[in-house]
């Protein structure tokens, strides 16, 4: 049952992440949602590794960690910059990044 339950946890994390991304207004929460998505992926990778007794699952998790860390660092830096430039940290301010010419 352990592995099945672990998959259920992954599904929970995934749904929560998606919900955060879709529903929350603040960009910080959006990033938190993304972390949850990464973690859901990691859980599934580990379940796979455990099921077939392979180290590949764990290697994959390590790479995911590195990638998510890298992405997060960059995104947070961008977030600060958005706050500075656009004066807000909500999702909706980002539409100002769009080319204005067409409006």
């Amino acid at each position: 049952m352990t592995l099945e339950l672990a998959l259920v946890i992954a599904a929970l994390l995934f749904l929560a992440g998606i919900a955060l991304i879709l529903l929350r207004r603040s960009l910080i929460f959006l990033l938190l949602g993304m972390e949850l998505l990464f973690n859901a992926a990691m859980v599934i990778a580990l379940v796979g590794g455990a099921r077939w007794h392979s180290s590949t699952g764990q290697v994959l998790v390590i790479f995911i960690m590195a990638l998510s860390g890298a992405a997060l660092a960059l995104t947070l830096a961008l977030l600060l910059r958005v706050k500075q430039e656009l004066g807000g940290d909500t999702v909706d301010v980002l539409c100002h990044l769009r080319e204005e010419a067409d409006e």
């Binding site: 049952m1 352990t2 592995l3 099945e4 339950l5 672990a6 998959l7 259920v8 946890i9 929970l12 994390l13 995934f14 749904l15 929560a16 998606i18 919900a19 955060l20 879709l22 529903l23 929350r24 207004r25 603040s26 910080i28 929460f29 938190l32 972390e35 949850l36 973690n39 990691m42 580990l46 379940v47 590794g49 455990a50 099921r51 007794h53 180290s55 699952g57 764990q58 290697v59 998790v61 390590i62 790479f63 960690m65 590195a66 990638l67 860390g69 890298a70 997060l72 660092a73 960059l74 947070l76 830096a77 961008l78 977030l79 600060l80 910059r81 940290d89 909500t90 999702v91 909706d92």
Partner: protein, 164 residues
């Protein structure tokens, strides 16, 4: 025994992520994420991956969460002077989507494949061999990527300095 433990972990994850969804303050959100991550660390141990479990605690709780805290601090989001909208505008569409997604995921999980396997622990030694053996080039590439991140962050900041 382990099943019970995992069930407990699932409950914790469920609750903390639900809380994550509704809390107003980013600080509260970060704390809830920390709880989720710690629970996941335990789950990883159960899944026979002690090295990854350790990394989860050290890296995620230790580094990434701290990064979040710094960001929150730098954003100087007010502690809650006025009640800010929790949800973004145009709320219903995404809610329906999320509910649909949940339904589909639940449907998918109603008939899981049997995964009756004894979980064996795979230790850091094997992981290390794998990382620096067959995955050598990938590891190097990731190292390069991390290096590049530093450059990218610097680039973002330099523009900032330039503007200011």
């Amino acid at each position: 025994m382990t099943a019970l433990l995992v069930l407990l972990l699932a409950l914790i994850v469920l609750m903390s992520s639900a809380a994550l969804l509704v809390v107003r303050s980013p600080m509260h959100g970060a704390v809830n994420l920390g709880v989720t991550l710690l629970a996941l660390g335990i789950l990883f141990l159960v899944l026979g991956a002690p090295f990854v479990a350790a990394l989860e605690v050290v890296l995620y709780v230790g580094a990434i969460l701290v990064l979040f805290l710094f960001a929150i601090m730098l954003l100087r989001t007010p502690v809650q002077p006025e009640p800010e909208a929790r949800w973004r505008s145009g709320f219903w569409w995404p809610v329906i989507l999320v509910l649909l997604l949940a339904a589909v995921v639940i449907l998918l999980f109603t008939r899981p494949p049997p995964l009756l396997t004894v979980i064996r622990e795979i230790g850091p030694v094997i992981i290390g061999r794998a990382l620096f053996g067959p995955y050598m080039w990938l590891t190097e590439a990731v190292a390069l990527l991390l290096f590049a991140v530093i450059g990218a962050v610097l680039a973002v900041h330099r523009r900032e300095g330039h503007d200011a």
